[in-house]
Structures are given as structure tokens and as C-alpha cells.
Symmetry: C2
Subunit: 206 residues, 2 copies
DNA sequence: GTCGGAACGGCACGTGCCGTGTCGTAATCC
DNA sequence: GGATTACGACACGGCACGTGCCGTTCCGAC
């Protein structure tokens, strides 16, 4: 988005628009954001915005994600749990708290209404992030630190899901302690007496 | 919402408004829903809507939740895993697929923009549902089917979180098989060789 | 009953923002 | 250096908002 505007002035204009978008979203909230206000704040004609982004949601997505080009990389200390924990701390601290937290939450909300935003969000952020997590888990598995039939994607969902749930559904902040608990539960399980699962015919893990 | 309109005609009017809201949301999507269109479809003045609901989001929330007054109850076969699984199947089938799925997803999206909707959603649906899950788990724990230090709220988040993640973030449908995997992973854990967790200092489960 | 206030449907209004069109100007490309 | 393209500014029609005002209908109190 905006990638085809390569001139010096054009880039400066795009950045000015993104900055105005974030300022206004921060001041009044995404719901009350208007293209007209962004154009006025950025000192730009409305056409210039519409020429670069197809909708308010697309502009907002681009503005928010551009803040975070340096993605969340996983450290590689050899300890898979410690590495996951450190990355999750960083992600939760950045995306779960002000100033970026409310904006990211609004972005996720908008993705529920607009399929284009949902697709772009997935392509630009969710999928790459998922891939990084899976790659890190895969490396641990290949080194014998995890069971050979370890389900990488399922593990990724169990790590991320509860955290998004906490923020989006339960409307409560996520602490480092909460991250620790999720990690512990994922790897150790919560079965009775921490060994054999209670009755039922559920499949073995992995 | 609307609880103070008790007359026969008033109740019929409210139901007519809710029905029109759901019809139009189904036809055009929540984003393109307008109060004017609802009023016209319901054969009602705009004032009548504004008198009962403070916003489009509040009206939509009320309309969607009124469809599901009969909440998701847990069976009590004595097998905690089987009971959880059966309830989760029902919830996923109803809220994760058309016709109700897209509406529920829009409702969750709106809750990210509007604190009033978020609070009402929590009070009317999320919190009671959470309480039902916790109560069912607590009963199992008290019967010795789960570890005494079993963390009920954490377990609830680990059951629900990945499912919401799958729908809202990954934008993929939730199958019964997926529910089975989450349940298995929660109780058995995904640690290496399904016993001791890999290095790190994470706390024990619960 | 009937009577008075509240809620009603219908209509109109001013406002805000949308997305587009049209200027004359400035930057950019060949 | 000439043509093309993007630009800021402004205007436009359109839509939906939320509110105010009609005259009518409903409904509980008396």
C-alpha cells in the first residue's frame, strides 16, 4: 500500500498522512476518525489519500503496521520455552498496552467488519508472525527438544489464543505472569495429578 | 435493554425492530446497517429505536444475543472432558458458522470499537458463559477428577482462546477435530515426550 | 368510562462525512 | 523543455446521523 509512490516528496506525503492518521486515532479513537480530518491534519487533499489507500480501514492498517516494521524475532538461546517467553513478553508489552495497544485492538475490530482489512492484516502481520513462531518451534523439535509428533500450528494457537482472548473478549490486560501460566500449561498440561488425563476418548497430544 | 417496555404492543415493536436488524445485517452486513433502514423495515419511527437503544452497536448486540437466550449449558455425564467437548461442539457449531457466525463475529468486532458494547457483551454473554465453564470445572475438581491446584480461569482461557483466535485472527473455520486437539493438549500437555518440560524456569501448571 | 400523559409513525431539518469532479499549479519524467 | 502526472483547494450530490415537531394512538389512573 503506497509502495508505488517512490519520489522523495511522495514518500514524505505518505508518511505525513500515516502520522496524522495515528495522531487522530489516538486523540479521538478509530471510530471517530475521518478521511477529511486526516487530510486536513496532514495538509493534503483528500484525493491524495484516496489515491493511495482504498478505505479508512486500509489506511489505518498501513499506519499501524508501519510502526512495527521490525517484527518480533525469536531469540535462540537453545531453551525453547525461554525463547518463546521472551518473545511473548515483548509482543504483549508492545501490542497490549498504550499507546499502541488500543490502536491494535481497533485494527483487529475493523478486520472483523472488512474482509479486505482482514486479508491484508493476515498477509502483512499475522501470517509472518505465525510462521516465525512455527519456525522456532520446528527448530526445537528437530533438535529433539520437543516430541517428534508435536503439532506446531496447534501449539502456536494455544500460545496466542488465550492472550488475544484476554484482551479482545475478556477485556482484561495481559501480564507477564499470565504468559508464564499459558506457557507452563501448554508444555506440562493440566491433567489430573499432572499425568494421565481423565476419562474420555480424546486423542494423544500432537 | 428494552426491558422497561412491557406492554404487549411495545414488546411486539421491540421484536419487530430486532428482527429487522438481523435481517438487514444478514443481507448487507453490519457495517452497512443503518438505523434508518431498520426503522423503515420494521415499520417504526426512528425515535422508537433511539428511545430503546443508545446506539447501533447496542441494538445489534441485543438483537444477536436475544437469539440465544437459551445459553450453552454443560451436560453432566461425570466425564469432564466429554462434557466440555460436547458443549464446545455446540457453541462452535452455532456461533462459528452461518447464519449466526458472521453476526457474532461482527458483534465481537464492534466491541473492539465501542466500550459500551464491550461491557454489555461481557455482562450478558461472556461472563455468564465463563462462569458456567468454571463451575463445571470446579465440580470436576471437587470430585477429585482434576488436580486440587487446577487453575480454573486459566483452563477456561486455554479452551476458548484458541477457538476465538482461529476465527477472529487466523480467519479460518473451527472444526470438531480442532476442538478435540485443544482439549487433548490442555489436559495432556505438549511437552517433549509428553512428560518433563524442556529447560526454563516456568512454574508448574495450575 | 374517560381523560391525560406518554409513546407512536411520519416528516423535515441541520450536520458531518463520504467519494468524486473540476479547477489551476507544481513536480516529475523522458 | 515539453508532456504528463500528481497535487491542494474547493465544490458537489448523496447518505445517514440525531433531534424537533406534527397529529394520532395507546394505556394506566381515576
Amino acid at each position: 500500500m503506497g509502495a508505488e509512490w517512490t519520489g522523495t516528496k511522495a514518500i514524505a506525503r505518505s508518511e505525513s498522512i500515516r502520522r496524522a492518521t495515528l495522531e487522530l486515532a489516538h486523540e479521538r479513537g478509530f471510530a471517530k476518525l475521518s478521511i477529511e480530518a486526516v487530510a486536513a491534519r496532514a495538509g493534503v487533499g483528500k484525493h491524495t489519500i484516496y489515491r493511495r489507500w482504498p478505505s479508512k480501514g486500509a489506511l489505518f492498517l498501513d499506519a499501524v503496521l508501519a510502526l512495527n516494521e521490525g517484527a518480533f524475532e525469536y531469540p535462540e538461546t537453545g531453551d525453547i520455552v525461554a525463547d518463546l517467553r521472551q518473545q511473548m513478553y515483548a509482543a504483549v508489552d508492545l501490542l497490549g498496552r498504550p499507546p499502541l495497544g488500543p490502536l491494535y485492538r481497533s485494527l483487529l475490530g475493523e478486520a472483523q467488519h472488512d474482509p479486505a482489512v482482514s486479508a491484508a492484516l493476515n498477509e502483512r502481520f499475522i501470517a509472518p508472525q505465525t510462521q516465525r513462531t512455527i519456525a522456532r518451534l520446528e527448530k526445537a523439535r528437530d533438535r529433539g527438544q520437543l516430541s517428534p509428533d508435536f503439532d506446531l500450528e496447534l501449539a502456536m494457537s494455544i500460545l496466542s489464543g488465550p492472550i488475544y482472548f484476554q484482551v479482545l473478549i475478556a477485556d482484561e490486560p495481559v501480564t507477564h505472569d499470565y504468559v508464564d501460566k499459558v506457557l507452563a500449561a501448554l508444555f506440562a498440561g493440566m491433567g489430573p495429578r499432572a499425568s494421565s488425563p481423565p476419562g474420555g476418548d480424546q486423542r494423544p497430544p500432537g
